[in-house]
């Protein structure tokens, strides 16, 4: 009889400087690997046409993703449905590579009848979860591509008095699938007082309707005061009132991104003009990793748990069917095994489809 180890935990405590072992280099070792591999981030933008979504994305990432875009006129938009369009751009800064994917949702909220206009969007998010789930459960997990949506910026028009029914319904349809960050768009049409009132109103309504927007994680107790203060200001400032711009103007002797009006110049990166800097810092410089974590640990896990439960309950009702996957002996990983694994993966996908068809048939029968 062989016993597995009885584990006891001891705290040996801090090692003194003299007794340097060297595992303090671990974060550097991880760091080096990450820099080599690079990161990815998928950001979705949603809101009606003309809210400044594209401009904001360009301003945030200093790119021009929409160079060849053609805007449709009103007549062309009558029959337009909500589309999902992906733009991918590789950004590199200080040796760090980011593969940024922007998921655009043109057509959202533009029709006369916008009933369930968010359905293509929720479907898209679910599809990415499903793809990931399949990849994660498959045999070959070497190069899984993570296309899950890490964050959704939702643009609320500044013209109204708070959330409109479509805003509420959209956010409620998505708040358990993706991190939602609501924004007040085109905030340069509001005075500071109007902004404050609108923000308060929106926060109230978010509470009232039980909408779960992305929550910034709590500050660690051992963070310095300055950090804690910034964090507090950030939280009190939501929803962020943003302005974007693709043009450079001359303001206060400097060339800055801004919008030129007869009555003055709006500077995008001026914190007293709008919350653009706060949004950018939060989205990219301090919370990007957390956004990904919450997507993986909460939204995806919820999806996965739900999915498994649905599948197993259906399986219990199904009659047993022959598994078409042949079992073959495995040899050490090599080209042949890779092919085999690929083959089995495809079989799995076919089986998944079969299973779905059967589920559909059962569902139809029950109807």
């Amino acid at each position: 009889p062989n016993q597995t180890g009885r584990n006891r935990s001891h705290t040996v405590g801090k090692l003194t400087e003299k007794q340097y072992v060297g595992f303090a280099t671990l974060p550097n070792q991880v760091h080096r690997k990450s820099v080599k591999k690079g990161f990815d981030f998928t950001l979705m933008v949603a809101g009606e046409s003309g809210m400044g979504k594209s401009t904001l994305v360009n301003s945030l990432f200093l790119t021009d993703l929409y160079k060849d875009r053609k805007l449709l006129n009103a007549e062309e938009r009558i029959n337009q449905t909500v589309e999902i369009i992906k733009h991918t751009v590789d950004i590199e800064e200080k040796g760090v590579k980011l593969k940024l994917t922007i998921v655009d949702t043109p057509g959202f909220g533009d029709a006369v009848n916008n009933n369930e206009c968010w359905k293509p969007i929720t479907d898209y998010i679910d599809q990415q979860f499903e793809q990931y789930f399949r990849d994660e459960s498959g045999l070959n997990r070497k190069n899984i591509q993570d296309n899950r949506v890490h964050c959704c910026l939702y643009f609320i028009p500044p013209f109204g008095h708070g959330l409109r029914p479509v805003d509420v319904e959209f956010m409620k349809a998505l708040h358990e699938k993706v991190n939602i960050i609501p924004l007040i768009a085109k905030a340069d049409c509001l005075t500071p007082n109007e902004i404050k009132k609108l923000k308060d109103r929106i926060r109230e309504e978010i509470d009232k309707f039980g909408i779960k927007v992305y929550q910034f994680p709590e500050c660690d107790s051992d963070e310095d005061e300055e950090f804690k203060q910034l964090d507090k200001e950030l939280k009190e400032c939501t929803p962020f009132a943003v302005i974007g711009s693709n043009t450079v103007v001359e303001a206060r002797g400097q060339r800055v991104r801004g919008r030129l009006y007869p009555w003055g110049i709006v500077e995008v990166e001026n914190q007293s003009h709008c919350d653009f800097v706060k949004l950018r810092n939060m989205l990219i410089r301090s919370h990007m990793h957390d956004l990904k974590d919450v997507t993986c640990d909460v939204h995806y896990e919820n999806y996965r748990a739900q999915c498994i439960q649905e599948m197993t309950s259906k399986l219990a009702q199904d009659n047993r069917m022959e598994s078409p996957i042949p079992i073959l002996p495995l040899s050490t990983p090599d080209v042949d095994t890779e092919k085999l694994i690929k083959m089995k993966d495809e079989e799995l996908k076919r089986m998944q489809e079969m299973l779905n068809k059967m589920q559909q048939q059962m569902h139809d029968k029950e109807q």
């Binding site: 597995t4 001891h10 200080k94």
Partner: protein, 377 residues
């Protein structure tokens, strides 16, 4: 800062500063300037590294190392020397009599250590009884089983419906195999063990108690060992096939020319040339453990801890564990996209979790890599 790096002549890769300069066609939204934008201000995506580091520091790291070798080869002492504290099993149970167990036992001891704000849960897994019996046939099997059991535990947690955010990692990241300093060649037991285990775990072979070998004897012994490993198709860490890129290959090739490291361990300090150093004092001189002119302990420490620790863990996770997982999923069709086979041992539980062990248990616990799987569909 790192001996091994200095020896290999490598240096930290310096990251060049790349700026993204974007120029866009102006959208005529405002009257006035229509100049194209050429921002040289920066987005700030490199901050994600700092975010990751923060998170890693908060979470801490785990490292599980197993030591295998006959009684008396200095395994416990070497562990204590490596981690500069009493982390071995013996140090934790000081009153237990030294006796050779009748079968191979597996004993784990965990420690929470911290250094410069980095916290680590270090687990040292000892295997007393290995190679100590009269008949040592298959004495590697309990060890193989233990390693596979850890993979199994992780797999079960991973396929759970409600799984933990951070699955506790008890998988053996590295197995240090102690070769007695005979100076001749590998013994059949050494070859047997490494041949079987190198397929499931990262093996780092070391020449134990190397202070009985002169430098020439050491070099020729190493050469013989390397040849025998090659002749028997044994891939020890760092394995050639897992080199990621040319830079890795270059570094690892140099390491592969130096292994197995000839080590001496000690937890006694002595005064040498005005400094206090770890060593072994004999009538003919004092062996300084961390002096690379005396033994290769420092190289082992650098490899295991300062430069390749993360890589060792990565290979365990992304290769050894994945290999195990693929085999297990094939064996028992646990995949949720298929129905369970008509096999009584593998009924899924109500929540979709399969029973513990499928099919007929093999005499060595889990089927070895090349055996055909246990049942047909």
């Amino acid at each position: 800062f790192c001996l091994l790096q200095q020896c290999l002549g490598t240096h930290e890769v310096s990251c060049d500063l790349y700026m993204v300069a974007s120029s866009t066609e102006p959208q005529p939204q405002a009257k006035g300037e229509k100049t194209p934008i050429s921002d040289t201000s920066y987005v700030g995506i490199d901050a994600i590294l700092e975010q990751m580091r923060r998170k890693a520091m908060k979470q801490g790291f785990e490292f599980n190392v197993m030591v295998v070798g006959q009684s008396g080869l200095g395994k416990s002492t070497l562990m204590n020397t490596l981690f500069k504290s009493k982390v071995s099993r013996k140090s934790v149970q000081p009153n237990v009599e030294e006796r050779i167990p009748k079968t191979v036992e597996i004993k784990s001891v965990s420690h929470d250590v911290e250094e410069k704000g980095v916290r680590m849960k270090l687990t040292v897994i000892d295997t007393p009884g290995f190679g100590d019996q009269i008949n040592n046939e298959n004495c590697w099997q309990p060890i193989m089983k233990f390693i596979n059991d850890q993979y199994e535990t992780y797999l079960q947690e991973e396929i759970n419906i409600n799984r933990k955010k951070r699955i506790p990692d008890t998988r053996v990241h590295c197995c240090i195999y102690f070769i007695p300093p005979t100076g001749h060649c590998l013994r059949p037991l050494d070859v047997e063990f490494m041949r079987h285990l190198s397929k499931v775990v990262n093996i780092v072979p070391v020449i134990a108690k190397a202070d009985t070998l002169t430098l020439e004897e050491r070099d020729s012994f190493k050469k013989t060992i390397r040849e025998e490993l090659r002749a028997n198709g044994i891939d020890v860490y760092p394995q050639k096939e897992f080199d990621e890129d040319a830079e890795d290959r270059m570094i690892n090739d140099k390491i592969r020319e130096m292994i197995p490291f000839a080590v001496v361990g000690s937890d006694q300090e002595y005064q040498v040339n005005g400094k206090r150093i770890l060593g072994r004092k004999t009538k003919w001189g004092t062996i300084e453990v961390e002096n690379i002119a005396h033994c290769e302990f420092a190289y082992l420490r650098d490899l295991l801890i300062r430069t390749h620790m993360q890589n060792i863990k990565d290979i365990t996770c992304s290769i050894h564990y994945e290999t195990y997982r693929v085999r297990r999923l094939n064996e028992s069709n646990i995949l949720f996209t298929s129905n369970p086979p008509d096999h009584p041992a593998v009924q899924p539980k109500a929540n979709g979790q399969p029973e513990e062990q499928p099919a007929t248990p093999q005499p060595n616990g889990v089927a070895a890599q090349h055996e055909a799987l246990s049942h047909e569909m």
